[in-house]
Subunit: 98 residues, 7 copies
């Protein structure tokens, strides 16, 4: 996995989405409903954390390399050197795979 030259701001996180063909290989996330569909991916870069109303930075809890599932809704797509990434807020990450 290539190192990205981007530092997310605030509580944003950049994830490298897992490819659909890989989903079957690992056999993990295949939602069967049309509601909100979670996706899986790997955390590539992590922002310092959200700044509270009084200026305190609340550190993010996910780390680079974490395998996560997240709600795609709200994220921003980013293409760098032909690879697709997604910038999401940490609050859009539902769970970490242990």
């Amino acid at each position: 996995m290539s190192k990205l030259n981007y530092q997310p701001l605030g509580d944003r996180v950049i994830v490298s989405p897992q490819q659909p063909e890989q989903t079957t290989k690992f056999g993990i996330v295949i939602p069967d409903s049309a509601q909100e569909k979670p996706q899986s991916g790997t955390v590539i870069a992590v922002g310092p954390g959200k700044t509270s109303d009084e200026g305190k930075v609340i550190p993010t809890t996910v780390k680079e390399g974490d395998s996560v599932i997240y709600a795609k809704y709200g994220g921003t797509e980013l293409k760098v050197d032909g690879s697709d990434y997604l910038i999401i807020k940490e609050s859009d990450i539902l769970a970490i795979k242990r």
Copy 2:
């Protein structure tokens, strides 16, 4: 009940929904209105808790193994190894069966 390899983030909880045929066997939850329908299930995994605006983690109060009824609205479906799970916020859990 199988152990899941997912750790929910924040105040999220993963529940294993009770199957409809089981609902009759235990005779518990059969809503007769079209409004918001509660469902029953078992808590499989629990996040550490919600982080307050000032960075304090408010621990979740439900525990693994709790039998709960919850509002389905807002949850995210997750299929792992052929089983269906639901990721919801603790605030969507209405009551614990004693």
Copy 3:
């Protein structure tokens, strides 16, 4: 009145709605408008209270056995052993009958 095996979470309360034919017997609540209609019932189970943003639990003020009128809007119906109950937030309770 049967004891329910459910413990509401947060500031939720389970009420046993008063039957319409009983309303006349006690002669209490017959709204004559189509706006928001209050209903009367008895409190069956009470949650520990709402958790503040900083983690403090604000105790509920209604108690088991209280005769209350409440706004039905927002509640979730629950049927247990053939009886109908309603799970509402304490803030949906308008007044306690003394």
Copy 4:
């Protein structure tokens, strides 16, 4: 004015609306616009006050017997023993008649 057997919760107040024919007698409130129409009435019962996010009760400032004008919007009608009452929030009371 009869004593009501209801204790409002929170910052709710029960008022006995002034009858339209009385409005002329006292010559006070006759709105001439179709916007939000204030009404006059008498405070019958007063809740303890609003609970802040941190659990502090903020006492209500109106008292039983106060003659008030209020915005009807948002209130809940209540009929007890043939009389009509209205349950409103104290914040819906616009002014007290001195």
Copy 5:
């Protein structure tokens, strides 16, 4: 200007609107757009102030007799003894004429 027998609650203020024919006499406020139109008037009665979430009263800053311009939107009309008044929130007052 007659003394009103009403004490506004919270951060509400009662104003006596300036008549349209007077507007020309003083030559002050003639908005030429259809957006939000300010109006001018005189403050007749002032509430004690807004109560904060923690119960502290924030005093109002306008005073009886102040000549003000205000946004009409949101106010409630009140007719007393044949005169028209408007109950608005202090936050709807845009400026004080010096």
Copy 6:
């Protein structure tokens, strides 16, 4: 530029809009998109500042005479002695010209 006899309340500011023909003379602000169009003007009067929820006044940072660009959306037009002014909130001011 004439002195206005109005004292804005709270975090409001009165600006004297720059005339369109002057815009070319100074060659500064000609937005070429239909989105939100900034305008330029001069600050004529400044309110004391926004009052926080706990009653603390947060002083405004712009000063009389400042040349500013602002978002017109949300302001209220005011005509005094044949001149047009705009009452806006300080938060609608985007930048100060140095």
Copy 7:
């Protein structure tokens, strides 16, 4: 890159958008979805920071000269001496290029 004579207020930032033809030269940001499209640019001027509800200024974290990607939505276009700029809030900046 020319020095701008504008000082943004609050947590606003002025960016000089990267031209589309430059995007290919540096080969960085080509979103392939119709959702929210990030853009890249250079920070030209930075406001002092957001003022909290209690009056504390929370300093901005981006600096003049930073190469950033940002969400265009919500910004205000500004043309000065024939050049296009964008005034955005710091919270609209997604990441800094290292």
